[in-house]
Amino acid sequence: MRAVMILLLAGLVSACSHPRQEVTGQLTHQVLLPAHQQWHDSNAALLVATQGYCASELDLAALKQSFYRSLQGWAHLQPLMIGPLAEGNRSWQVQFWPDKRNLVARQVEALLDAASSLDQQALENGSVVVQGLSAFEYVVFDDSVDLEKQSERYCPLLTGIARHQVALSAQVLSLWEGPDGMTAMLTTFPNARFANVDEALGSILRTQITAVDTLKKKLGVPMGRLNKGVPQPWQAEAWRSQHSISNLQASLSGARAVWERVRSLVGDTQLVTRIDAAYENTAQKLAGLSEPLVLLVQHKDNQLRLQSLYDSLDNLETLQQIELARDLGIQLGFNANDGD
């Protein structure tokens, strides 16, 4: 029996004129929820495109375009994925990165070898490694796969992944809706999740700042920062589709969307100017990279430019993690990052 929760709540719901409540409400309705909806819409479009391709009604280029949109939607969402998508290992079902041991390729082939024709249930029961966009990307972009000639082998998997993404994003959206949904938790206080608006705003900022830290990893890992400076191009995110830079841009835009709403709460005008400049600087550096990351890291000539981008992200993270958190009086970390 599912327990019924009775909350003995103290205090009254704050008036909507509270600036933090207004900003958190704007973030919820104008940034977080729309990003989840767009991600779901791009997944629905990917399913239609996959079915069209597998029925020979669409060409491979159209399928790739649809995949890019899903990937972009996911990358934009990462700094905004507070709540359901961040919980229960759901995000692993969308993307498997980093893939240090080429598990995506190995597990996809093993899964397909094990069954003459893959059905949806087999995919649902399988590893998260084969359920997401990373596996989809392997099939569509890897040199070892001739999708046009082997569509019978791979189409059930592609369709299965697209279905899985639609179902997953629909499930996440449903967890945002209703009286106990994430939207309500972020806008009406106190509630079962947050005692007050500061806790909710703090959670949004933690998610966003963690994502900026992840951007550093997505750049730093292929650069070889954890590998004594030896580049690891095939550790780049989305290296097969050569979409790493676009992903970084999409994630940065998601993070920036949070900042754009939060900045009105910041008392220190100089800090506002510095964070604005840090976003602009990082965006410009990303825009200046015309080649895919998988290629850029392989040439020493690019090292300075990549290092400069990394430093820019690092500066952005520090400004938000330390100075912004201090200005807003919001606590960003304790046991979850540093426990025992």
Binding site: R193, G202, A336
Partner: protein
């Protein structure tokens, strides 16, 4: 055994801490019906504290200390507690619970550091703490300390092996003489850096307090670091693990050792496991209600299950939930980020309310008195 105030006074007198006694009686009166919650805590500037708050929100003390502490070892009789230094701390603090005064800064032995957990023996003369042998990094030892009754000082009086690597939490079995120890299995060398993730050796050990091994059991997943535990009145032990393997793998994170039965996973659903983010922090057992509670700070989730049927009683989000302890019919839960809460479960219903304690910065364990 239920201790009455008359018992306490008598036992205190037997211990000879005359100076303590009057204060103890006075202090008991100050708390009234509200229990005292003891926990290590930080502030936003990063200062570490040994903190004591009555559950109704009144501050008993917040004593600044040099090193961050982890668990609190309560003296069974006297108003004393050792706030144990968190790995790889070289200091622990013996605190007078009446006023928060540091009675002693207990230094670790040379080539040893504290692992964050310790317990007083039921008669109050001995303290046992899990420690790391830095001459043979990771080798677990149980440091033994005698409490000087007159000076109220802990004096190192030897050590015995924990029969495993990287011991973390320990607790008394119902006989009050044998200890169950969670050997986390991770080798560290005076730091928090994990040196042996490919060759970890976690184990759950039951040993007597003099070092004799009674049992040593392991789990199937060698990268499941056994870290936290609680013991029910009937001797049922629940442990919480921290999985050091791949973040996306599904591996049991709770295990149970029931009397006369082998140590084995405690059955929770795959979706609950996924919610824990491979990390469990604090466990408490309500023996009367046969309920076990657990915090998962990385997953921002708090759980209560029926100890016998494993039925889920509470499964709720709670940001950076940290320490948990039994209070009345339920559990008090602290948080590293938000407000502390009370959760209870009775007749199919969860009750919850926020506690009037400072929000955030609470460490992963709490003790109630």
């Amino acid at each position: 055994m239920t201790l009455t105030r008359r018992h306490l006074l008598g036992m205190g007198a037997a211990l000879g801490g005359a100076a303590v006694l009057g204060g103890w009686a006075l202090w008991q009166g100050r708390g009234g019906p509200s229990p005292l919650l003891l926990s290590a805590r930080n502030d936003e500037a990063g200062q570490h504290y040994c903190a004591g708050y009555f559950l109704d929100g009144r501050r008993a003390f917040a004593t600044p200390v040099a090193e961050r502490c982890h668990d609190v070892a309560l003296h069974p009789i006297l108003p004393l507690a050792l706030f144990v230094g968190r790995r790889p701390s070289r200091e622990s603090y013996l605190i007078d619970l009446r006023d928060g005064r540091v009675l002693q800064t207990l230094q670790s032995q040379p080539q040893r550091h504290f692992y964050g957990h310790g317990v007083f023996h039921k008669e109050g003369d001995w303290l046992y703490a899990t420690e790391n042998d830095l001459d043979e990094p990771g080798r677990g030892v149980l440091g033994r300390y005698r409490l000087n009754r007159n000076t109220l000082e802990l004096i190192h009086d030897g050590e015995v092996p924990t029969h495993g690597v990287g011991p973390h939490q320990l607790a008394w079995m119902p006989d009050g003489e044998s200890l169950v120890v969670a050997n986390g299995g991770i080798r560290t060398e005076g730091s928090r850096e994990k040196k042996n993730l490919d060759s970890m050796a976690p184990s759950l050990v039951v040993m007597d307090r003099h070092g004799e091994l009674h049992s040593k059991e392991t789990l199937r997943h060698q990268q499941s670091s056994i870290r936290h535990l609680a013991v029910a009145d009937d001797g049922t032990v629940i442990t919480g693990q921290q999985f050091q393997g791949e973040a996306w793998e599904s591996v049991p994170l709770l295990a149970v050792k029931r009397p006369d039965q082998p140590y084995q996973p405690f059955p929770v659903s795959a979706s609950q496991l996924a919610m824990m983010d491979q990390y469990t922090a604090s466990i408490a057992i309500h023996s009367q209600r046969r309920q076990v509670a657990m915090t998962a700070p990385r997953g921002n989730r708090f759980f209560v299950w029926d100890l016998d049927s494993a039925e889920t009683l509470v499964d709720v989000p709670m940001a950076d939930c940290a320490g948990v302890g039994v209070v009345g019919d339920g559990f008090a839960v602290t948080s590293g980020q938000g407000r502390c809460r009370y959760f209870g479960y009775r007749d199919g219903q969860v009750t919850s309310h926020w506690l009037d304690l400072p929000a955030g910065w609470w460490d992963n364990h709490l003790r109630l008195r």
